[in-house]
């Protein structure tokens, strides 16, 4: 297999990344051996590749991105699962579920009635964020995690299109105390605001 100079040049980057098949590799190596300019060009390409590969600082979404993915997957999975299981569920279970739903609805009605009497209840689920925070773009995930633990907060939503995360305080911390801790870490946190 003999290559023209143009063909050898086209395949040179793939000799540099060592992905050519046996025949092509041998042919390009032959071309490089007989042309010193190609040899120098190959050395330059290998150097560029090595430099690019040594740049490992990719500030990807990391664990935050994974948490967001899992949350959305769960949202999507929930209705799909119920459709699948509905078809195979025994009739007795369907009746039991219907009774359970009726009980839950009954309790909800009862509770909402009492809530009116006592000034209202707050639901535990579906909590809204008390703080909105934006992190410094290149802040390492480990540093952010440590700061969140220190401030006594957890992420409950985000990132939004603007890169904002919603936080809620964990038991034993107040929003203002958490806000102070976050605000003090200006090397990690770009902005922090109360939502109320």
């Amino acid at each position: 297999m003999t290559l023209s100079r143009r063909e050898a040049e086209e395949l040179l980057p793939f000799l540099a990344n060592d992905t050519l098949g046996e025949d092509e590799r041998r042919a390009v190596e032959q071309a490089v051996a007989s042309d010193p300019t190609l040899a120098v060009e190959l050395a330059a390409l290998r150097q560029i590749r090595q430099t690019m590969q040594s740049q490992q600082a990719v500030h990807s979404p990391g664990e935050f991105g994974l948490a967001r993915l899992m949350r959305d997957v769960e949202k999507e999975q929930a209705p799909a699962r119920s459709v699948v299981t509905d078809t195979s569920r025994p009739r007795l279970l369907q009746i039991a579920a219907a009774v359970l739903v009726a009980i839950v609805i009954g309790q909800a009605v009862l509770l909402s009635g009492r809530a009116d009497e006592t000034g209202g209840f707050e639901l535990a689920g579906g909590e809204a964020a008390t703080l909105n925070v934006a992190f410094v773009p290149d802040a390492p995930e480990a540093t952010i995690r440590a700061l969140l633990l220190q401030a006594g907060v957890e992420i409950v939503s985000g990132p939004s299109a603007l890169g904002l995360y919603g936080l809620n305080v964990i038991e034993g911390t107040t929003p203002s105390a958490a806000q102070e801790v976050l605000r003090a870490a200006d090397d990690v946190v770009e902005s922090v605001d109360r939502t109320d």
């Binding site: 992905t19 560029i48 690019m52 590969q53 993915l69 959305d72 997957v73």
Partner: protein, 218 residues
């Protein structure tokens, strides 16, 4: 089960830090798990609704896919959104993966198309196979490039100066160590087109690095 043991290994922090942060090691690992059909086992499990398998795949591929997307967009927020969309599509379409290409190629292909869709929605004009710039044969001096190629800032600057198609070809070849056939599969184009793109991209990159095209002054 070798596959299950490997999946468990993928999920450990030590493994993540020691192997997946190194591009070369990641490539070797991907080749290895491909050989053991673990990637196919992963995607099969994802198709069955196994979220742990999706998390393993995400940890394995997130950084290179994000880097690839960002190299085409240069916007970290948009890149994060597209990365999310890519893995949502992997989740939804895992059952349609036929194993005719490597899992890595399939996922990068999804990312490539998502970026194009984003460009279309944003009304950005994407230049596909633009007429190649006229480059003098002796425009670059590779000897100078060897030295300049060691300077990460210069390499970044010169990569950024390339057109999107040229940058993509070089990024997939040098970051991901893909063959020209795999790059063609990602970009859904002919192998000859990829060879031509990389030929011109290489010329422009070397020319930039040799300082003839306004290379960055480090």
């Amino acid at each position: 089960m070798a596959g299950a043991a490997l999946l468990a290994l993928c999920q450990t922090t030590v493994f993540h830090q020691a192997v997946l942060t190194s591009s070369r090691l990641r490539y070797v690992f991907l080749a290895w798990i491909s050989a053991l059909s673990t990637s196919h086992e992963l995607i099969t499990r994802i198709a069955e609704g196994d979220r742990d398998a999706l998390a393993s795949l995400y940890r394995l591929m997130e950084k290179p896919v994000y880097r690839f997307i960002q190299s085409r967009l240069n916007d970290p927020f948009e890149a994060s959104d597209i990365l999310h969309d890519v893995f949502m599509e992997v989740w939804r379409s895992a059952g349609r993966f036929e194993g005719r290409s490597k899992l890595q190629t399939w996922i990068f292909g999804i990312a490539y198309r998502k970026v194009i869709d984003r460009h279309r929605k944003a009304g950005r004009t994407r230049l596909t196979d633009t007429p190649d710039e006229t480059i003098e044969d002796d425009a670059a001096t590779p000897e100078t490039c060897i030295a300049a190629g060691q300077d990460a800032a210069q390499v970044r600057h010169c990569m950024a100066s390339l057109s999107e198609d040229h940058r993509t070809a070089i990024a997939l070849a040098f970051w991901e160590d893909m063959t020209y056939r795999e790059i063609a599969a990602v970009c859904k184009t002919a192998e000859g087109t990829i060879k031509t793109r990389i030929f011109h991209a290489k010329k422009l990159l070397l020319r930039c690095l040799s300082g003839l095209s306004g290379g960055v002054q480090a």
